[in-house]
């Protein structure tokens, strides 16, 4: 990694002065206490105080900031709402933390075209709320959707419960305005759905703030389905539930959401919100179906039949909107619920082919015994995206390291099962080493070449996403 030239306090002060000329006094933060809220994102085991926190309010201010940083070779870490789970927004000690929370306007909603143009700091949920009067919503719904920003969603290619049917961020964004490290503006994508030339829109989505800074996002809106019901089913064995998931998809049904929880997660969620879950079950499935009334009724019959064939203990179908929301409430609060039964937890994010669910879950359960750490599984079963939560106590010496080693082993199992190390949380700082499980050196070199081409001085979110060649050698030799 290349280091920036400006690295001492005096220079930071000089930089702050230059930035304040066009961003304003209040929005260039250098005082330690005021910078503290920015020292980590949702993965708080990684902390770093940034050199400066800068909060621009326009694309022009972003351009000027990047020009200045580029000129003085100062690292820039872009931050949205800071809800990321891989340390992607971990600040750089000598760099600028560029917070886009003030770019928070919805610029345009075109309900007829089914498009909304928004600034990156708008929260995910705010888009759906603004479109609700038109009978439309923005489909990707990460569990942090109340707080997370659309810019952060773009950086991570965020998913969520509904992406099984409606796709990920990459399927629901049609155009981006991107500021390059030189401060130039490019528009990628096309409102006409298929622009000419290489798909730079897809390249930017999920690039974790390492190739450019997004200052405007045009998203696709989806009509709110007229009907929606959820089936809650419990099973005596994890394997039965895992196989039931594959069987439903094999029937040709694409549920709007298809989630699974294991016994630890069921118990924690039930204690926390009292959603009426079957606490004696080893696994629970939530299968949401939406569409027209006829379509939903038809699918409920089919899914219920499949669940019976796979030895479901109990099957309940939501009878009204209040009950549907109650069934979901347990799942949606599962993470904080698990937080109550353990001092700390570490959330993993591997994805595997659905048919491997049972096998991988058994492997995780075996490892859990070997490591002496409990695991709660809450995840997007429909698309094979696992979120094992490893429970540990950071105050116990060595336990964090043990949890991390356990996590790394889970990700290797995912890769071996034909899957990948991250489905939606991103690589960030957290999974740099695991990138070596998924890619060869030549492939990593190709990814680095793309980074070097667009950001030759490695100023945009340096040290994240893709391990440098030097780090690869270090990892492979250990």
């Amino acid at each position: 990694m290349k280091t920036a030239e400006i690295s001492n306090i005096a220079d930071t002060a000089a930089l702050a002065e230059r930035l304040r000329e066009f961003i304003g006094e209040r929005y260039v933060v250098s005082a330690t206490e005021s910078k503290r809220p920015f020292e980590c994102d949702g993965l708080s085991v990684y902390k770093q105080m940034p050199g400066l926190v800068v909060l621009p309010s326009s694309t022009e201010q972003v351009q000027k900031t990047l020009r200045l940083c580029s000129q003085h070779r100062i690292p820039v870490v872009v931050r949205g709402a800071g809800t990321g789970l891989s340390g992607g927004a971990l600040p750089h000690r000598d760099g600028v933390l560029l917070s886009l929370t003030r770019l928070s306007r919805i610029l345009e909603i075109d309900p007829d075209a089914g498009l909304a143009r928004v600034q990156p700091g708008v929260t995910n949920l705010a888009i759906s709320e603004a479109c609700a009067p038109h009978g439309l919503f923005y489909a990707p719904d990460p569990s942090s959707q109340i707080a997370c920003s659309i810019g952060g969603n773009v950086a991570e290619n965020a998913g969520g419960v509904h992406c099984l049917k409606y796709g990920l961020t990459v399927h629901n964004v049609v155009q981006l305005t991107v500021v390059t490290i030189d401060g130039e503006i490019i528009t990628v994508g096309c409102e006409g759905l298929a622009g000419a030339g290489p798909d730079m829109l897809a390249l930017m989505i999920g690039s974790e703030g390492m190739l450019g800074v997004v200052t405007e996002v045009t998203v696709k809106l989806t009509p709110v389905p007229s009907h929606c019901q959820v089936i809650l089913a419990s099973f005596n064995q994890l394997e039965h539930a895992g196989d039931a998931v594959s069987a439903v998809i094999a029937e040709g049904i694409i549920p709007a959401g298809f989630e699974m929880m294991d016994s630890h997660a069921i118990q924690a969620a039930e204690d926390f919100v009292g959603a009426g879950y079957d606490t004696n079950a080893a696994a629970l499935l939530l299968c949401e179906l939406d569409g027209t009334e006829e379509e939903v009724r038809h699918c409920i019959e089919q899914v219920t039949a499949v669940f019976r064939q796979h030895n479901a203990r109990s099957i309940r179908v939501s009878q009204n909107e209040a009950e549907r929301l109650l069934f979901w409430k347990g799942r949606k609060s599962a993470f904080p619920a698990v937080g109550r039964i353990s001092p700390d937890y570490y959330c993993m994010d591997g994805t595997i082919p659905r048919r491997m669910l049972s096998r991988v879950l058994s492997d995780i359960s075996r490892l859990s015994k070997d490591y002496g750490l409990r695991v709660a599984n809450v995840f997007h079963a429909g698309d094979g995206n696992l979120h094992p939560l490893i429970l540990f106590d950071e105050s116990q010496p060595g336990e964090l390291q043990k949890a991390e080693a356990f996590g790394a082993e889970i990700l290797r199992i995912c890769v071996d099962a034909g899957g990948c190390i991250t489905g939606e949380h991103g690589v960030g700082v957290e999974k740099l080493e695991q990138m070596l499980d998924q890619f060869s050196d030549a492939e990593l070199a190709q990814l680095n070449a793309i980074k070097d081409a667009l950001d030759p001085d490695a100023l945009l979110n340096p040290g994240k996403g893709v391990p440098t060649l030097k780090r690869c050698q270090e990892y492979r030799s250990t």
């Binding site: 075109d110 309900p111 007829d112 075209a113 009978g135 998913g159 796709g167 399927h171 030189d182 130039e184 490019i186 528009t187 096309c190 409102e191 006409g192 759905l193 298929a194 000419a196 030339g197 290489p198 798909d199 897809a202 390249l203 999920g206 690039s207 009509p223 709110v224 389905p225 007229s226 069987a247 998809i249 094999a250 049904i253 694409i254 027209t292 379509e295 038809h298 994805t351 082919p353 048919r355 997007h380 094979g384 995206n385 034909g418 899957g419 990948c420 991250t422 489905g423 939606e424 991103g426 998924q438 890619f439 492939e443 990593l444 190709q446 070449a449 793309i450 980074k451 081409a453 667009l454």
Partner: protein, 358 residues
Amino acid sequence: MPGVPLDVTAIAELLDRVRAATAAQRPLCIIGGNSKQFLGREQQGDPVDVSEHSGVVDYQPTELVITVRAGTTISELRQVLAEENQVLASEPPEFGGKATVGGSLACNLSGSSRPWNGSIRDHVLGVRIINGKAEHLRFGGQVMKNVAGYDVSRLQAGAMGTLGIITEVTLKVVPKPETSVTVCRPIGAGESLRIMNEICRGPVPLAGACWYAGDMYVRLAGPASVIGAAAARIEGEILPDGNDFWSRLGEMNLPFFADAKDLWCFLLRSTHDHFEQDEGWLIDWRGARRWVTARRDRDTLEGHVRDAGGELWQVRGAVQGADVFPARSAAYRKTLLQLKGALDPVGVFNPGRLYSWM
């Protein structure tokens, strides 16, 4: 269904070709089924035929995932999927059985269901490519969600072979809709745009909305129990051979295309007003893709596009050597050239195919 293993010999030969071309700095012209030479600029360089590199590598119907070699034709792929009652959601054209999967990803052409079902770009889960350093690399994978590394797989969509030779593609497939119905009614182009966009606002299982030769066509696809009721809510007559119409539109087999010496394609926000008189226009994708035939002045058409924030492609009738895809800003060109350099440092893959400057 595990299929053919990696064709080691064929890959070794391709790697040799790239190595030799790079050493000699001689451009290569990548050819799959040679069915889309009408798109983009003229091909240059020594031909590299990848059509023989075909076959299903792995097919897991219950996962809704298939991996094929890039030379596999779309028609062959459709047949394999049909046996499991599955389809390619994006309906890429077959072009007389010649179009290959690699070429379809490289050009990213889609059928009329594009606004609802996405393009092949939306369904690609992973690729193997040969880059300009003659390395055979794998990006993405076989799972629906994968955010490790930059999305090199989707970057190939629309690149028209300028960023490497695609050798293998993994695609998400979908269950075949139980049935489809097409509703048709006579109407003017401008009015059809308004109605199409209005229909699209509702939760209706749409799979096509176009205007052609004085008629608006709306296609619905899904379970029979749902489609009948939904179609009844749309004004117009049921077209008896609806699928045939959409197929001829997607394959560019309608008389509209056959007769056209000049052909332009607009890609823009679907709600933008109709530009001119109705004659010579075909509106697809609920208004987001609009074809126009007959000789037109590029400046006039580009004026339309500038106002609409879209793109204009010249598909037929371009002056030899001219650029046919939209002009790009200096910053965009710089970024694209940087990317090209990262994947193809010597510039051997399809130079000039997309743009005169790349």
